[in-house]
């Protein structure tokens, strides 16, 4: 939701141009480190002008993929193209992309201005033009008063902006960002996210962001690719990723979720019914699925889409009774943990639209949980 609010223009522009040609094309890339497969036969296309987030845990291969784009690692197999140009055998210093390092990797022996100027010097840009471009870039990241400082004299947020300016000053075709916000504290991180979006919108540069923080990926990304064990599991817009996860891994990795398991007992063209569930009641799926009788299926329901009621809901489907075990009141939201009579714990989130919920449900109360059929996502794996 925040990403559409913050960068609608950039996102839209990216998508418009996108349909014409993929800007960065990774095809069948594999990278192995002494027997360990870091990236496995991965294929991905990134569009011009979009912010693409690679989301994954540590060891998922996301950083290796980024380093292959920068040229620090060479794929064992496969091919990487940037703007139609094959990158095989092109060293890092000759690639049309720049990287913002997780540690920022600012040169400690150079001033802020010299750090930013470094890339232009390497390209032999004339002095006057260098000065002008550095000044403009420092202005963009609001660091003009700090031009003569050394990196050691800056705060974490300022260093992050120097790193950004240094990587952007060469006008790269794509900016690679390795965990761009992980070194900042939470409050600064939120501000910086929006600054990043702002700058990206102004410049229209393609961003490829590696992150393990799904909130960061959701805020920044026009599209997110979730990686696990060297493979891309799902590539989608944040909303689609959240609302339509492809499997249990994605559902659990992105946001919190309740996953119920059951076996198909009724398989019709317009609905499927699961029996023998850990909900303790039948689960109704409101659309047809290609499945077999007796097959195990899962249904994922987000906590905020669950209902919590004192009385049995009228629509008796997908409902079960339990005891409220835990309540976390967060102001705008309240999280409940309900232990079902069958033993399973279910998470329910309620928005506090009223000052007090009329039903007054509290610790150790018996209550019903349920969800409308369209709130659940049926998963086959």
């Amino acid at each position: 939701m925040s990403q559409t609010a913050a960068a609608p223009a950039a996102a839209a522009a990216g998508r418009d141009r996108a349909d014409g040609r993929p800007f960065i094309r990774i095809s069948g890339v594999t990278k192995t480190f002494s027997g360990f497969v870091a990236v496995n036969d991965l294929t991905l296309e990134v569009r011009e002008g979009e912010i693409f987030c690679l989301l994954g845990g540590s060891g998922s291969g996301k950083s290796t993929l980024l380093r292959m784009l920068a040229g620090f690692e060479t794929p064992d197999r496969g091919r990487i193209e940037i703007d139609g140009q094959d990158m095989t055998g092109v060293p890092p210093w000759a690639r049309p992309v720049n990287m913002m390092f997780q540690s920022y990797a600012l040169f400690p022996h150079m001033s802020v201005a010299r750090n930013v100027e470094y890339g232009l010097r390497q390209d032999g840009v004339p002095r006057a033009e260098r000065a002008e471009r550095v000044a403009r870039m420092l202005e963009l990241v609001k660091l003009t008063p700090f031009a003569d400082r050394r990196p050691a004299q800056l705060s974490g947020g300022q260093r992050q902006r120097v790193a950004l300016a240094r990587a952007l000053v060469k006008r790269p075709k794509a900016l690679l960002l390795d965990e761009p916000l992980s070194a900042l504290d939470k409050k600064l991180r939120e501000e910086t996210q929006f600054e990043l979006l702002d700058i990206q919108e102004k410049l229209g540069t393609t961003f490829i962001v590696v992150t393990h923080d799904q909130e960061e990926a959701m805020t920044l990304g026009d599209r997110i690719g979730v990686m696990d064990a060297g493979e891309l599991i799902q590539v989608d817009a944040p909303r689609d990723l959240y609302e339509y996860p492809r499997n249990r891994f994605i559902a659990e990795f992105v946001g919190s979720v309740n996953i119920f398991e059951g076996r198909v007992v009724e398989d019709e063209a317009d609905h499927v019914l699961l029996g023998d569930t850990d909900l303790g009641a039948e689960i109704f799926i409101h659309h047809g699925l290609s499945c077999q009788m007796g097959q195990t299926l899962w249904v994922a329901v987000r906590p905020e889409k669950m209902r919590l009621t004192a009385a049995r809901p009228d629509d008796a489907r997908n409902a079960a009774q339990g005891v409220i075990e835990d309540i976390a009141y967060l102001g705008g939201l309240t999280h409940y943990r309900v232990r079902l009579d069958g033993g399973k714990t279910v998470r329910v989130t309620r928005a506090n639209v009223e000052r007090r919920h009329a039903d007054g449900l509290t610790w150790n109360d018996r209550a019903w949980i349920s969800w409308p059929p369209e709130a659940g996502v049926a998963l086959t794996s």
Binding site: A70, W93, F101, A105, F107, H109, A167, K170
Partner: protein, 297 residues
């Protein structure tokens, strides 16, 4: 707030004690000997035991202090001494530079080697230190002597023998092999700390290997270069054993001059003046350079 304040005097005393130990060490083994040498350098030679006069006399309630600066004047008048100084500084500086040029790639290679191989490589650098310095120099004589290993091999190949001993080359070889670890170790220490991502950033921003080395690795290893050069240069200037064993009789080096004054001429005052002057020549510029560097940091 009050607890730490109450503890402060104790802590301060502890800190003072810790600082006192090296101070006492320096006092006993540097300052007092230095004062003795300074005193001797201001005395006159005498045929006595010890072979110099006292610089003060106490007679009839009169304290007479006689400071003889003649020894220092002598150093200036006789070209032997400043030629020896300049030659020593020149040779030490050249040897230091050769050391640096050889040691830098070694240190860089060790720092870039796989972490589990580094201790072994460092060990190989330090290993020569486990044998006596003198033995290593005699080994060099064995290599470079007119009938030594190198010339025997050359002879066997039907080539003319080369004169190596008693030349500048032999002295350089001695200093470079003798002091190499002192150059490699500080260089390695700074290069090993160098963050790899800085080099990657340089590459990413368009710098090829050479440019990245010149703009990132080299400037960031400056402290190691300075430390290594000082560690080699300072002892090399006053070096006596290497020029005495490997060098020729016509090579004027201050260490040899010092030795001759002390033990051949038995002129302790002049010898002490030579030592003090050398210290002043070396220590003052180095302190000045250190201060200049310190201000920059």
């Amino acid at each position: 707030m009050s607890a730490p304040r109450r503890r402060a005097p104790l802590a301060r005393m502890g800190r003072a004690l810790v600082a006192l130990a090296p101070m006492a060490w320096l006092g006993v083994f540097f300052l007092i000997p230095f004062a003795v040498v300074l005193r001797v350098s201001l005395a006159e030679p005498a045929i006595a035991r010890p072979p110099f006069t006292d610089i003060w006399e106490w007679a009839d309630g009169v304290l007479t202090i006689i400071l003889n600066f003649g020894n220092y004047l002598f150093l200036i008048e006789d070209p032997l001494y400043y030629t020896a100084y300049l030659n020593s500084i020149w040779m030490a500086a050249s040897a230091t530079l050769i050391c640096l040029v050889i040691a830098y790639p070694m240190a860089l290679a060790i720092a870039r080697a796989a972490p589990r191989r580094r201790p072994m490589l460092l060990m190989l650098v330090v290993l020569p230190f486990w044998t006596s310095f003198l033995l290593r120099m005699y080994a060099l004589i064995g290599l470079m002597a007119p009938t030594g290993f190198v010339n025997t091999v050359l002879g066997a190949l039907g080539l003319e023998p080369i004169v190596m001993l008693q030349t500048d080359f032999a002295v350089y070889a001695g200093i470079v092999t003798g002091y190499m670890p002192l150059m490699v170790l500080p260089l390695y220490a700074t290069l090993e700390k160098l963050d790899d991502s800085l080099l990657e950033a340089a590459h990413d921003l368009g710098a090829g290997p050479t440019r990245a080395f010149l703009t990132v690795t080299l400037p960031l290893s400056a402290p190691g270069i300075a430390a290594g050069c000082l560690l080699v240069f300072i002892p090399a200037v006053g070096e006596y054993v290497i020029p005495a064993l490997l060098g020729g009789p016509d090579q004027l080096m201050i260490g040899k001059v010092l030795w001759t004054e002390f033990f051949n001429n038995r002129d302790w005052p002049v010898a002490s003046a030579v030592a003090i002057a050398m210290l002043a020549f070396l220590a003052l510029p180095i302190m000045f350079i250190r201060n200049a560097l310190g201000v920059k940091e």
